[in-house]
Symmetry: D3
Subunit: 290 residues, 6 copies
């Protein structure tokens, strides 16, 4: 992949840089919250590439908050200790052992691996979870069956994010939350990203997924909706165009917009330089909900 | 235990508070680095009590950095996955699996449990490891046999600690370090605490252990040396009074003093309110090296 | 008295300190205005004890403004020069000589004695009167007879208090005011404290008196009303429970509450550690008006 | 006096203002310590005029510290209570009663009268004494006979002056000092001014006296030495030109210069606008020691 | 002229200075925008005198913005290259050559001459035009005939003025503006001054002209209206008292007042020290519109 | 030219951006002084392109000072008024008329045209000359013949540059200087750039010229010396490799290095994106003197 850029003549390279000016000007000083996950997370070289992209955006003046979960890593760790998970309606029943493993894997494993990758790219990250500075408060998820330590976010206290961003760090947040009673809960990382974006006055929320975005015809990548107005969402759901796993993603976007975020993006994080392409070009490569 | 204070008349309680004034004045605004470990770490109620004590010190104006390892927790996690550790000269041979487990247990498990306990006491902590903000850089430990990912601290970049302390957080640091080559190393928490204390201009280093301090006669607690001048250390080692596991602890103290720290304390962290008693009374309860 | 606290074992002392945490957290950073007077003022050792208590509160992060008069000291000074005072309805007729004596005794005598006592306790105070920084402006008291230089407070300019508190001083204020015409007036210290508390956005006003607070049955100290809602005051006055010298004290409290102060306390300043007991315990020892 | 300026045509008035530009530029932002005393202090209209002059200098950007004693006022107050003073070598023996009177008269009487006069001129002053913020520490004067509470300045802590000047106040300081033992001492105001000037990095010390300055021929005002180099002082003392009460004044100047002050002035404070004339003209009207 | 002030005795000079206190207090910290032009501009010694006056005001704490055109200098430069100007309704038809000449003469000639004169008086000025920091945006003047590069001010971005004033510079602004399309326009300096005064929250707008102000009887200087309420303007225009070139001047004043400026002055800039006399005396010498 | 970059696929574009990271990190926060001149100045589209390049560097965090002369524009303006220039040893004899024209053309013409071009690229520039904020002080050039208002730089006062850079402006400086006597002088722009680079602690000085840099063989562009150590310069001059107009350029570089600048570059400003290519690639396109 590098060869194509590597063989460019210097003039062309300079022109590419200059053409980024208007995008840089638009986003300098703005806060952007990125839900990092999916295939981009498990592929190490892709992860390193994403961190370089983010470092570039930070050097251009953006304030970045990276929120992550890490289901596959939790699965692997549970398997290693021979602990069986049960599931209810797509949600993992989280007993105390599972919660302990999840906390360690997310806040100590994935989180620090991302911090290290930012460092390897030449930047400085600060990795925290929702317990640090009392960032995320959750309460036990309410539903027909008891899911254990699965939580719903109740409140967000973004002071620690502002402190870290002001001091120049890229903030990396594991989706673990505390509760007033002193418990620890596993919270959905998409929800955490949306709540944080709304709570800290972000300009943008970006959800990295494994699909291109909203497609009018799911078999045709060319049918991608680049821009989607939130008022058109109900009709698209009714028409079955937005369906399945895309519905909760879209709902996260709508929550963020309702909380004051100006644009929410869904894009395929496995495409090389997906976030750069979305932010530094007119067309973008995913779906932007406004 | 609480009953004895609970039954005091209010006047006596007020007098106790007023008598703390000169100690508060001495330490307000000063940075104190505490190596947290030993028995005080594995006993949950003791841990919560220590965090309350530290919160009190923070409310009185001290800047606190808590450095921790967590050997017993790593052992337990390795056992759970059936991974065998081998040892060399008292140091664990740390292969990639062990390192991954250590990172998760320290930075995601112990660290966040401490952060949560500070929150439960009413304070706000920020839990990091040596990878965050490039705080600790290590290189592979040099020795007769290859110990794997065991590192020696090469440099300390305390900016992230100053940022966090300035913003009002109690800083909690897991003893994990990065390397220029991008590797992760397990580093000794006592060494990490001493290096951090020297690097960030701390007034004091406090090593919480499971022994009272330096005893002239190890069978007699009353023979505790409350104050020990660093120049007397060689003679005490020669005389066999400082011996065994106490030698590396004392060496950490000497390193910190050589790096500009003004006092280094060794005390028994399992004694209730050990740190308060050491800092807010004339006699203290451990050994202070000056 | 000191012996009771002095004989406590260290553990108990530490527990007492830790139990103060929630109170410290409640009041850190808040401004508290204390009217200092009565018996606590004329007893030198009690005065020194009060200043130590206040210094402790300041070290715990409170911003303290101490407002004082000093009737007994003025009386003594007038006697020394053989100047006769006449009285009208409980107010001293203040001629030019009396005013000069009052100014010197309050702003130069009592004020600096309090400043010195704070210094002796290890703190730093800044003693001013209402003329400094144009803090208090008064106009001549209007009433049936001419009382001379007795003034009613017209306006408060708290800039000098904020400047001093921001710089870390305990502020000590003598109840002397200026007027637009350039005259000096003696103003009631309770009124001055209430006006200053309202003017500088204080959390609390505390009036130190020689009585316990509001008693349902004046012959029974156990009938003390710990908390009193301002809406219940008229009925208590009608019932004769609040009467005599307590009425103007309560009115000062109501004025402060009307000006935005959140709680106003009346307590017996001659009880050892009265302010600490009121602020750092659940029950308090006086009457809190809310 | 006002009539002469009052009858000037506007153009001439404007020219006078413009001609002050170079002097304003020289002193803007500089700290100037003025010992206020002598005849200028006991004449009320002269006092008001001096405060107006000082306010003008402050508006032009100078940072002003006014240090004062008040011997005549202390004498009057001692007489009023019928307390006899004894003297030794020109120094008043200061017993406890005298000290109490001096403190009240200086810190509560003279000090607040000056503060009020600054207010009447339209400015804002902050009046303190050496006890406030622990500004002046003294020890008992050592000499052949015991003079009681007469002190020599040991140390100066100018933080409170910088705080007040930074906040925009004209600082007025009564020459009362504390001691480590908690006593209060009367200190010489000339010495206090010199010590403060040296301690707070002042550009100038100005001693207001009742004589014109150093005269070569004491019977001839035209023989005034406008500028005097400190190295010429010994010869002038030997020659009897500097003699009597001028010697301690000159010594104060030399002390200030030794402490880093750049110029020290002795001038006749009873001349109208003496300080303005000294600072805003080339010739000045007194003697400048450099 | 200097002789009259030069011969004054020092006391009188000091009194003149002291009498300026209330005016200095009124305007310290306030922003004042001055349209500089007319006869005061073409007379070099008068120009130098005005800059000294302005420097004095700046030293007294005022924040000064000087806006200038320079018609006579443009005329002279156009003549030198033999370029003919045509006029329409009193406005110069500004072709590309004329615009280039105007830009060079105003922003490079007059502007820097004024900057240099401030420097010669001992101050520091920062000379800019409406292109710098995008201060002034204009659009092509709309009218019956095409006037070329004559623009009407559309918007003002005062950030560069605040930046410069905060850093302590006297700001000098040439009346040249940019346009969104990237063109340069000549704008009327009176309009520019009024727009800037409104845009940067100025206290005063001062228009320097060659006439005394508004005269009730144009043949009688004594009929000058010192103060004029904006509500009386229409009647004065109807009565022919405000007429001719005074009408646009008055309209500029009304525009500024409508934009929040508190007073607008019209005065004769050729009178020596005109601005000082207007600002530092009760009567002033021109007409103040309120 | 744009077509080559325009046709790139998005991935390649993203890679180009990411590859700039290490260069951005090297120069973020550093001050870079650029002498702008030669062919890049007279070609309008090239000028606009250079300003876009500079804006990009500024968005990436560099602090930019652009210093310019403008000989060709002065020539054209002198011709337009029919004023004859005479020359001595390659220097223009500058009489008063020429100086006036030069000031207007440089500070009002070229300077504002550059400011406008930065604005057209989307940035904000602040255009000044050496008179503003007393930036450049010169004295009359000393030589065998009198050259009139040709000056040599005596001192640089960079406060105005720091103020402007801190506030976020790109600084554009016309090479005009003042003198203590109040005269205006034309100074060589290369010298001005070198003096400013040394005076304001710049990391780099870049001289834009019309030649590639130092060529070993002037007929062979491939013989360009990319890096040149200052210690090798004398030998290269002796060998005739550095000769003619290159000698004063190199001397400027040496002056800057002697003044603490870390690298000085000579490059061909007529090459598209010359500065970007020099700063954001390893090889660069000109000669760097170190």
């Amino acid at each position: 992949m590098k060869s194509s850029a590597g063989s460019l003549d210097p003039q062309t390279r300079a022109e590419v840089l200059v053409q980024a000016i208007p995008y840089i000007q638009d986003f300098a000083g703005k806060t952007i919250v990125i839900k990092y996950g999916g295939g981009a997370m498990v592929n190490t070289s892709l992860m390193q590439s994403v961190m370089s992209d983010l470092l570039l955006l930070q050097l251009m003046g953006m304030r970045l908050v990276l929120v992550h979960g890490g289901g596959p890593f939790i699965n692997r760790a549970l398997e290693a200790i021979g602990h069986q998970s049960s599931w209810q309606d797509g949600l993992r029943v989280t007993d105390a052992t599972t919660m302990q493993v999840a906390q360690e894997v997310l806040a100590g494993g994935v989180n620090k691996t991302l911090v290290r990758a930012v460092g390897a790219a030449g930047g400085q990250a600060l990795g925290i979870c929702g317990l640090d500075g009392c960032l995320l408060q959750a309460q036990k998820h309410r539903g027909p069956v008891d899911l254990g330590y699965v939580g719903d976010i109740e409140s967000v206290n973004c002071r620690i994010l502002h402190d870290g961003l002001d001091a120049g760090y890229m903030m990396v947040v594991a989706s673990i939350a505390g509760s007033p009673a002193g418990d620890v809960y596993n919270v959905n990382a998409d929800h955490a990203a949306a709540a944080i974006a709304a709570g800290c006055g972000a300009q943008k929320l970006i959800l990295m997924t494994d699909v291109l975005g909203v497609l009018k015809d799911r078999s045709d990548p060319a049918s991608l909706l680049s821009v989607l107005s939130q008022k058109d969402v109900p009709a698209l759901i009714d028409a079955g165009i937005i369906q399945g796993g895309m519905i909760p993603k879209i709902n996260c976007c709508l929550d963020a917009l309702a909380g004051g975020v100006q644009q929410a993006h869904i894009l395929d994080g496995t495409l090389p330089h997906a976030i750069l392409l979305e932010l530094l070009s007119d067309d973008g490569i995913g779906t932007m909900v406004i």
